[in-house]
Subunit: 456 residues, 2 copies
């Protein structure tokens, strides 16, 4: 399409898995809004696949890490959406400041990014971050309720928030009730790198990695059944983000289906999730030998019995079925050179936890708000479940990409006027985005809990 | 003393705890050998205390980290003994190479130190390292037996080696059977920083930190009773040091009294040994609140019951007495600002595990050698127990310092002729040192085990 007068140009940097729904939304809304969507990726075929033959779209080969090439492309457009890995956003943003282009990233605001706030204001641009699903929809849906409570004069006592990327119920056909719907490496390493920290009734609480998957909380979502949540690394930082500096209890976590964490903990206890050293001779090891490398030597006993004894697993414990089903006791060659335990485990899991072509994924989010109003304790639960259409337009892709896309629209049409480095925690930003998400079907159900109690 | 013709001058850098027995040995043997012992420390009083009024000793204030001052002092002497923290040895050694002075350190050979080998040879000096207790006496006593086995035509099957710094039996009066006899911080952090690695019957084995203190091995030393050993981080590197590249089983560990490790594991499981983050408000926390910070919130249950439930500690488990005895449930203020869990735990332990003025310490070392000779399996155990005289001439100070001192004598009198960067694993070095250690009473008992078996 030749750009006509009044056409707004949007550059999407990166056409990977997380950009599918983003690009689709932008293209679907392009004609109505007079947009031209330029999709650049180092892999041209990937960009072409996402754009298809849409008249308002242009796919091109783009090395966004080359600053000269990057500046030329940024200069051409009205809005930049960076779907690059998080570490590259700061460089892109510096160019956007120089060129006075608004920019959106779904990623966490780094300290370096935060430092660009005044420069961005001076350039008259907005640098919107944390506007995917987690972070993103979690912020918006939580602040939506938190602001209502504050407006009513309520005083927050407990805020809990859980998010999980899972497999949809109709595709949920393995004993773990789990499949990889996102980066498998992050799933294997989840919870490593420091104790989980939160605060409960004014008491700081710390959970080391070796206990993380045994300190879960169970929640029930109407129509979807039970989930369990383990603590995210840092819940404390969210106090300042949400303006809850004095809240006695704040806890954020990740959701799995009930029973997952207890079984996963077997790998944690074994040391099979360790990414800090490489296994001797990993290439020629079998899955069984991998497990055996964490168990004491014995010339007679089976790997199975040694594992049961070591981790005190009862004969009839259902977690055993989960472990066996993964094939960890089989004589299958690993075939990875100089692999860490975490890399080997990931390979084993990828053979079992991969989505089938017809599988759908699911994003689940759940918030709990307990507050005091007129000397009464009140509780609101808010939940959202979103199921992906297929393996391109996944729930993950939808919930990451669509809020980014909507935000882009609202910046271009002037609904969002904020400047500087922002996250979507103010009403002017979250309200119109949540409202359109709801129309699309990504919606929260808020329910008031009857007879809530602070702590029994 | 005025140095007379023929007097050899020895510089001891550092007059701290680990230098006591070293300096005593050197002074005791100074007249006979025509030595002048110069003891330099940044704390002059400390150096003076160690030298006393001995006619062959000179204490002086010495900032060994100032390279100009250092070179002047190194130039004056015939032999340098660096008892500085390990990270400073390389700088001292570079100067010793430039000035052609022999140098001894008790510390591990770093990669940087190793790189100085050819330069040291070119300078015609020896840089002797790893000649304290562990590393040091362990190398020498192990190689003494290993070389005998090799000479007899035996083929090594299993080598295990354990060392522990403990409290002497007559001072052993607490439920942990343990007191701090060395750097408490190292004891609290022991085992952190990576999985323990060893090889057993040709199978590589890995133990993560969260299981390290539950994979102990019990040994019995005649006259001293039972000890338990947990695995050191890297046993594999010792294969090349000892020329045991093809040995199917090698395992090195640290000794404690039986029951220590299982109780210590309670702190590991809680996360109380973590040194990677600081506790919020640690200054005003009590010991009890410290323990509670690792336990789930509950408005009614006691810290004691929550701990028992969390770690599955039976009502009648003797490890409970150990925990209670430490005072961890008491309302005592910690009084440390911005402290890590490990720092708080260290403070609690220092209040209980400190040596009384009349207490003695004990070094225990035990080796197991299993080998095949003439189609027969044979086993030798070798053990050494050394008890300190008092709190200055401790077992630790003796076993670190006396081999260093003897080595110094043997270098000065020409018995040791090796040049370059060395560790004491060859007969010419270990034989005369072990022989003199034995005269002094630091001696190994080697026993042949009747009807040994490889693995039952």
């Amino acid at each position: 399409m030749e750009a006509v007068a009044g056409t707004k140009k949007i550059l999407v940097i990166g056409a990977g898995r997380s950009s599918s729904s983003l690009i689709k939304y932008l293209l679907d809304n392009a004609e109505e809004n007079s947009w031209l969507i330029r999709v650049g990726d180092s892999d041209l075929a990937l960009a072409q696949e996402k754009v298809g033959s849409h008249v308002c779209g242009e796919a091109f080969e783009f090395n966004a890490l080359d600053s000269d090439i990057r500046r030329v492309e940024l200069a051409k457009v009205d809005l930049v959406i960076s779907m690059l890995p998080a570490r590259f956003h700061v460089e892109v943003t510096k160019d956007c400041i120089a060129l006075k282009k608004d920019v959106i990233t779904p990623s966490y605001v780094s300290a370096e990014m935060k430092a660009l706030h005044q420069e961005a204001i001076a350039a008259g641009i907005v640098v919107m971050n944390e506007i995917g699903v987690d972070p993103g929809i979690d912020h918006m849906s939580a602040k939506h309720v938190l602001d209502q409570i504050a407006d009513s004069g309520g005083k927050m006592k407990i805020f809990e928030s859980f998010t999980g990327g899972l497999v949809a119920p109709n595709s949920d056909n393995n004993p773990w009730n789990y499949k990889f719907t996102w980066n498998p490496r992050n799933v294997v390493l989840a919870g490593q790198g420091g104790a989980a920290k939160f605060i409960q009734e004014g008491k700081y609480k710390y959970i080391p990695y070796n206990k993380l998957f045994r300190r879960t909380e169970v929640i029930d979502i109407d129509g979807y059944g039970k989930f369990e949540g383990y603590a995210n690394r840092d819940s404390l930082g969210y106090r300042s983000i949400y303006g809850l500096e004095d809240i006695p209890t704040i806890y954020r976590g990740t959701l799995r289906r009930v029973g997952f964490c207890r079984a996963w903990d077997a790998f944690v206890q074994l040391g099979a999730t360790d990414d800090s050293y490489t296994l001797e001779g990993s290439e020629n090891m079998t899955y069984r030998e991998f497990i055996n490398s964490f168990l004491a030597y014995n010339p007679h006993d089976s790997v199975e019995l040694k594992l049961k004894s070591y981790l005190k697993i009862d004969q009839d414990d259902p977690l055993w079925d989960k472990l066996e089903w993964l094939g960890i006791f089989e004589d299958i060659k690993i075939g990875l050179k100089n692999a860490t335990p975490a890399q080997v485990l990931q390979k084993i899991l990828e053979g079992k936890w991969s989505l089938d072509p017809s599988d759908q994924d699911m994003i689940v989010m759940w918030h709990k708000f307990v507050y005091e109003l007129d000397d009464e304790i009140k509780e609101i639960n808010s939940s959202m479940v979103h199921i992906g259409a297929d393996q391109v337009y996944t729930a993950m892709s939808d919930t990451v990409g669509i809020p980014v896309a909507i935000c882009g629209k609202l910046i271009l049409n002037g609904t969002i006027n904020a400047k500087g480095v922002q996250v979507p925690v103010t009403k002017d930003i979250y309200e119109p985005i949540l409202s359109e998400l709801q129309e699309i079907g990504i919606k929260f159900t808020e329910t008031e809990v009857e007879s809530p109690v602070l702590y029994a």
